[in-house]
């Protein structure tokens, strides 16, 4: 279902907004599509990684002798084979990234790579990796923010002083930084409230759960260059990070993007790539490295676990008067949790006149966290949207009405600073309020919950090339890996702009030598940013086509219009010229028809969502069944509605898993107890009903088609929506994720 705000005189589109056949579908269902592990090169070796068994330890020695002596082993690398970036005076972030790839003097989590091997088979490589003898001196470890911040906690990085604290500390700690957002008078705000609640919440690390493990193939030449074939969310970014780690220039690497089997933010960073390249340079042969599922859980980046304390006040008529938030997010072994974004998004949906938000980025002995769909926002939304629901119950006011009363609108000064331009939060609330789902009675034994969410979305750097072949068909070439249907949207843009059937547009994602620079596919940016440069290419070509037609007809360009796929003379006296006609004679009218455009695209429109869930709750087992789920999200303009709906549904499903089941479970020795999908339970299709989608369209005024990113906001509300449904269905409030059956049953049993 789509609810569209149409400005006066808005055009209707022929292709944009249609459900064209996805361009990658046939290859994917027939097994032709090449994912990261699928490339086979002549003489290719297989790689394996030696990883730390300890959560925290000094490396005393690494003996690779036995591994190197094994038949079939062609290369072994350790940190000694990478440049010492600390000695080279590199930036701290680059040093940490290099140490994440291969530990140099300390291991900081179970699974931290220590060495890598390339051999003629995966079995030999694994045996050789196991034969590398590493002498460790185990150190005490910390696994949570509470442990890491405790007095006397073992410190992971001896030189880490907390930034953002005044006065600056003189002793190292595990708190890397502090960020604060503040406005108004907190004391007055709470004094103005009729009801004030204070709650604490904890969440656990959860993984993005992509089905395809990390994989790459590196083929180094004798000329100091290498080709890298990798599944990622951004091959230019992979190139830059890999080059930095190797001490290379980026242009020494050519990176070809593979098809990607899920990323969700987790594939915006490197793990295997420098190892594969370095092994390949040493072996003189191509090397493939593929992670096992246990390695994905132990050694890639989940999102943060957290501890949050939230205090919020509200008047009896539903006005939120004040909010105070303290939160600490796990960064894993190196700084860089999404606590900053959490601070910015925490109350961004609302106009709150008085607030103080304080967030700490805290290191601990777990893998360094990576981005996960609206990083930081779902975690803090679990707390904020839960406490808002408790306040609604306290003042006996409808949760949609409270949100409408406090909703951020155009002109609201966002909690993170600037004023909002035109946004669609109110429209998502109204869409849920007016939905048949919300109007239906809550069945007996069910709980119903509502929550909302926000994500900024971003623009950024994109390059595209569009050319018209001599047969009049169009190629659209970009550098944005397709993780959510962007190829289809690019084709729809081109079809709409040229006025041709979308079947005549083919798309390709080119390697780093063939297309200009592109930022990662992430931040819900591609349909907006790469789409805009594709549109710019098409519009430039249309001008060129008009010029070519004018030359053909020996008239002025102002006499030529481009209408529905052909050049027409304004007088109507000439036979129209199609794309194919003009392309066939391109060399007479100026040469090949091809345009490349690049831009650092601005004007991303923020995305809001409101969601509604009905849970059937079995209070004898604590098991909740998602009986019905409706999500309303502002897409600006749904270029390909099926993909937009898919992004909305996907975010919701991941949030449901996060709410009910997903968590990293560590043993007391710091090792991970559930590094497999058997024990780390993500939702499958049979767990859930069809997620009902309401695509709200409040056009983004800064994009030619009104696009707002949709990939991320959808994951922000589900945990709170579910927590709210549980409370409303059982009277039990769970403030710790996941809200698993065992925990709910315990709460139910202690209810009275």
């Amino acid at each position: 279902m789509t609810m569209t705000e149409e400005p006066t005189g808005a055009p209707s589109y022929k292709w944009v907004g249609s459900r064209s056949v996805r361009p990658d579908g046939l290859d994917k269902v027939t097994g032709k599509a090449q994912f990261g592990a699928d490339l086979k090169l002549p003489n290719m070796l297989e790689g394996a990684v030696t990883r730390s068994p300890h959560a925290h330890a000094k490396i005393i020695s690494i003996d690779t002798t036995a591994a190197e002596a094994m038949a079939g082993v062609h290369a072994v690398v350790t940190a000694a084979d990478l440049p010492d970036l600390a000695e080279a005076g590199a930036k701290t972030d680059d040093i940490f990234m290099s140490e994440k790839i291969l530990a140099r003097s300390k291991v900081l989590w179970e699974g931290h790579p220590v060495a890598a091997v390339a051999a003629t088979s995966r079995e030999i490589a694994r045996a050789a990796a196991a034969a590398i003898v590493v002498e460790y001196e185990p150190l005490p470890h910390v696994l949570t923010v509470t442990e890491a911040l405790a007095d006397g906690a073992p410190v992971l990085h001896e030189s880490m002083m907390t930034r953002g604290v005044d006065p600056a500390p003189e002793t190292a700690s595990n708190a890397a930084s502090r960020a604060v957002h503040e406005r108004g008078d907190l004391d007055k705000g709470f004094a103005d409230a009729d009801v004030v609640l204070e709650r604490e919440y904890t969440t656990k690390p959860v993984h993005q759960g992509y089905i395809e493990p990390h994989a790459c193939v590196a083929d180094a030449g004798q000329d100091g260059r290498a080709n890298l074939f990798v599944s990622s969310q951004g091959h230019f970014s992979m190139r830059a990070m890999t080059a930095t780690t190797l001490g290379w220039d980026p242009s020494q690497l050519n990176v070809t993007p593979a098809e990607i089997g899920g990323g969700f933010g987790g594939k915006t960073t490197i793990y295997l790539e420098p190892l594969a390249v370095r092994l390949s340079t040493k072996a003189g042969r191509p090397v493939r490295l593929v992670m096992g599922r246990d390695e994905v859980f132990k050694a890639t980046g989940p999102t943060s676990g957290s501890h949050m304390k939230i205090k919020m006040g509200i008047t009896n008529d539903g006005q939120i008067t004040a909010a105070q938030i303290w939160m600490a997010f796990e960064a894993g072994a190196f700084p860089g949790s999404p606590v900053g974004a959490a601070g910015m998004t925490a109350i961004a949906c609302y106009t709150v006149p008085n607030f103080f938000i304080e967030g700490f980025d805290v290191v601990c002995n777990k893998p360094k966290v990576a981005a996960y769909r609206a990083p930081g926002a779902p975690i803090i939304a679990y707390g904020v949207e839960s406490i808002i629901d408790e306040l609604c119950l306290a003042i006996d006011m409808d949760p949609i009405d409270v949100r409408l009363k406090n909703a951020a609108v155009e002109g609201t000064q966002a909690s993170y600073g600037p004023e909002f331009p035109r946004i669609g939060f109110v429209e998502t609330l109204e869409a849920i309020r007016d939905s048949e789902h919300y109007r239906s009675p809550v069945p007996e034994g069910y709980g119903r919950g509502v929550a909302s969410g926000f994500w900024f979305n971003i623009g950024g750097n994109s390059t595209a090339t569009v050319h018209v072949n001599e047969d009049g068909n169009v190629n659209v070439i970009t550098g944005s890996p397709d993780i959510g249907g962007s190829r289809a949207s690019m084709a729809l843009f081109a079809a709409e702009e040229f006025g041709i059937d979308v079947g005549r547009v083919s798309t390709k994602i080119a390697d780093t030598q063939t297309i200009g620079f592109n930022d990662v596919t992430g931040g819900s940016r591609v349909t907006l940013a790469t789409g805009k440069v594709v549109i710019d290419c098409c519009r430039t070509i249309k001008q060129d086509l008009r010029r070519r037609a004018a030359k053909t007809w020996d008239c002025e360009i102002d006499d030529v219009e481009w209408v529905e796929g052909q050049a027409q003379h304004a007088s109507g006296t000439e036979t129209p010229l199609s794309l194919a006609d003009l392309a066939a004679k391109a060399s007479r009218t100026g040469g090949p028809i091809s345009v490349t455009q690049s831009d650092n695209v601005r004007g991303a429109g923020a995305g809001f969502t409101t969601q509604l869930v009905d849970l059937e709750i079995d209070d004898e087992t604590g098991v909740c069944r998602v009986a019905r789920y409706t999500t309303a999200q502002d897409a600006g303009k749904a270029i390909h509605p099926s993909y937009v709906e898919g992004q909305m549904q996907g975010g919701v499903v991941q949030g449901i898993g996060w709410a009910f089941n997903e968590e990293y479970i560590h043993r007391t020795d710091g090792t991970l107890d559930n590094p497999s999908f058997l024990d780390y339970r993500i939702p499958v299709a049979s767990d859930l009903p069809m997620i009902e989608t309401i695509v709200v369209e409040v056009p983004n005024p800064n994009h030619p088609y009104g696009v707002r990113g949709v990939g991320e906001a959808g994951i922000v509300p589900p945990m709170a929506a579910i927590g709210n449904a549980i409370e409303r269905g059982t009277g039990c409030r769970l403030n710790d994720l996941p809200m698993s059956p065992i925990r709910l049953l315990d709460a139910i049993n202690h209810r009275h």
Binding site: H181, R373, P375, G417, P418, E419, I458, R602
Partner: protein, 81 residues
């Protein structure tokens, strides 16, 4: 004149100043002026910050022009997933 509003994270350098008005035609010039007034803020604003000018968030905005009368905020750079 433009208005620059400071987030709480900058208060250790800006003290009680939550906002100021200055003349600065570009972000680069603005950061230079702010660093003269609040020593050390230049480095802080150059690391991984975006700039919001009249509500539009611009990453990598050092050379960006600032229209007269604009409201400017410095924000942490937003990444995504």
């Amino acid at each position: 004149m433009i208005t620059v509003k400071f987030s709480a994270s900058l208060r250790d350098l800006t003290g009680d100043d939550k906002e100021i008005e200055v003349e600065a035609p570009t972000v680069r010039k603005l950061i230079s002026l702010l660093d003269e007034r609040y020593p050390g803020i230049g480095d802080r604003l150059s690391e991984a910050t975006s700039v919001a000018i009249n509500g539009e968030i611009l990453p990598d905005a050092l050379y960006e022009a600032i229209p007269d009368g604009a409201e400017v905020h410095f924000l942490a750079t937003i990444a995504g997933g």
